[in-house]
Amino acid sequence: MTCLETIQAYAFRSLGVGENLLPRTDFNLCQQFTLIGSGLIWNIYFGVIALSLGFCLATGLAMAKASGRKWLRKPAEWFIFVFRGSPLFIQFFLAYSALVMLPRAGIDLFGLHIATSWLTSAWAGAAFVLFLNTSAYAAEIFYGALMSVPKGDLEAAEAYGLTGWDKFRRIQWPTMLRLAWPAYTNEAIFLFHATTLVFFSGFPAFQQRGDALYYANYFADKTFNPFVSYPIVAFYFILLTFSLITIFGLVNKRLNRHLPSNTRSKIRLRPQLIR
């Protein structure tokens, strides 16, 4: 099989499209690159879903934590504490064993039939845990930014007669985003790195449609040689990191477009590990 044929056969293997049988003998570099890249689709899926949904929840949580009302603030604080204070690994296990306990056949609620079996598959369950987790981390970042919105900006807004929703939409939220964006970029990068944990989370890979690490592990197991497949995963993730920095950098540029060029906040990649 030439490399082009391999790519045609396996490029979307992780979605169940193309050749079904994984290679069993005569492994070559092209197969490893193609299959691990195909698995990366799942990592990107988890990252994008969790980030885009998490962004909304995080904004709400940050607002709730900054609110003066106790019944709003306390739940948000607890949510953030629980998800930031415990390992993502444990959260995955906990969620999986909780979701498995739901009745297989589904729940009948007021005559409505709610199917539950899909929740235990990785595409829903793992994405849900990642969504909650990134919401907590991002909420803490947004809360910090919300607290450092300049006092003068808010007073000026009130002097112009902006209150409530208008003040939030036009002044608080854009400034919060601008201040939080460098830290949020890092959060996004490490969320994508955290998607590799899904492989260990207990959520099973359906019909060998796994993520990047699933295929890397497959090759490492078959060839007894970790020196090829894991560096390929690393290579893909470095590419992913660079493209994320580029995309988030463009957004950062837009958020800062009204500022003189020497006062703009730059995005710096800051190290952080597994959560």
Partner: protein, 293 residues
């Protein structure tokens, strides 16, 4: 463990639960918490040591040493650490065996990589195939600690490098004008003064280290996650204590345990930071001075 637990089938209610929670396997489970604490106690100082070395290397005037330090600090960034963990432990394991192989059996003819397998001579196995189970476990644990220390050392090096640069230049220049040598300035001024700048980064790192300890499970050490899965899974009547799938409760227990650990460290680190900021020429130190007035 207790005499009235001799026949678990006859027990009911609280005494059943008590006997269940003090069964031999549960004692192993509680001991595995000690494994995690030992890992933390060993890894944190060694990671700090690695980080200190890395930061010093990155600041060095000797170019190759500086490149080494910079490479080390940027090594683990950009790559998911989990890939690093999985890859590095196997690589280290094979590397040690390969080196021992070269020394112990130099006239071994067969290739080490036989197609799909990694084969060294039996004398070069680490630990030896004949040694007892405890050595295998200890060796696995040592490999895990080394990997943790290396990865977290890179992050600590990054933090300490920044902290060393953050110490006000005026303080160092004052020390020099008093006639202190380079080494004396480093020992007497730079190192004692840098901690207040390093603490936020280091405490963040400590939190991350706590949350990274379940990864021991991936490295094959029988840690709390291993035991929680083992004990929680459904037990049939063949076992002394039959029960349905209780993994949810075990993981909930682990979650709470981790939350306690992070919360306690948070409180302690806040106290430490208050101590370190005392009298410093920083915003935090100034705020403390104002509050005391």
């Amino acid at each position: 463990m207790f005499s009235f637990c001799a026949d678990p089938k006859s027990l009911e209610g609280f005494s059943w639960l008590f006997c269940y929670l003090t069964s031999g396997k549960h004692i192993d489970f509680y001991w595995s918490f000690l494994t995690v604490l030992i890992l933390l106690a060993v890894t944190a100082p060694s990671a700090l040591l690695f980080g200190f070395g890395g930061a010093m290397a990155a600041r060095s005037h000797v170019a190759p040493l500086r490149w080494f330090g910079k490479t080390y600090t940027s090594m683990v960034r950009g790559v998911p650490d989990i890939v690093f963990f999985m890859f590095f432990v196997i690589a280290l394991d094979q590397g040690i065996e390969w080196m021992k192989h070269q020394i112990v059996c130099p006239d071994w003819k067969e290739p080490i990589r036989q197609g799909l397998e990694f084969r060294v001579c039996p004398q070069a196995k680490v630990p030896l195939g004949t040694s007892s189970q405890i050595w295998h476990q200890l060796y696995g644990f040592a490999l895990a600690v080394f990997t943790f220390a290396l990865v977290f050392g890179a992050f600590a090096a990054n933090v300490l490098y920044g902290a060393m640069n953050a110490v006000p230049k005026a303080q160092l220049e004052t020390a020099e004008s008093y006639g202190m040598s380079h080494g004396q300035v480093f020992r007497r001024i730079l190192v004692p003064q840098m901690w207040t700048y390093a603490l936020p980064g280091l405490s963040n790192l400590w939190m991350i280290l706590i949350k990274a300890t379940p990864l021991l499970f991936l490295l094959g050490v029988k840690d709390i996650v291993y035991w929680a899965r083992e004990l929680g899974s459904a037990k049939t009547q063949a076992y002394a204590y039959p029960h349905p799938d209780w993994r949810l409760w075990y993981f909930l227990f682990l979650l709470v345990a981790y939350l306690c650990m992070t919360r306690i460290s948070e409180i302690l680190l806040n106290r430490l930071s208050a101590r370190l900021n005392h009298g410093q020429a920083t915003a935090a130190g100034e705020a403390m001075r104002r509050a005391a007035q």
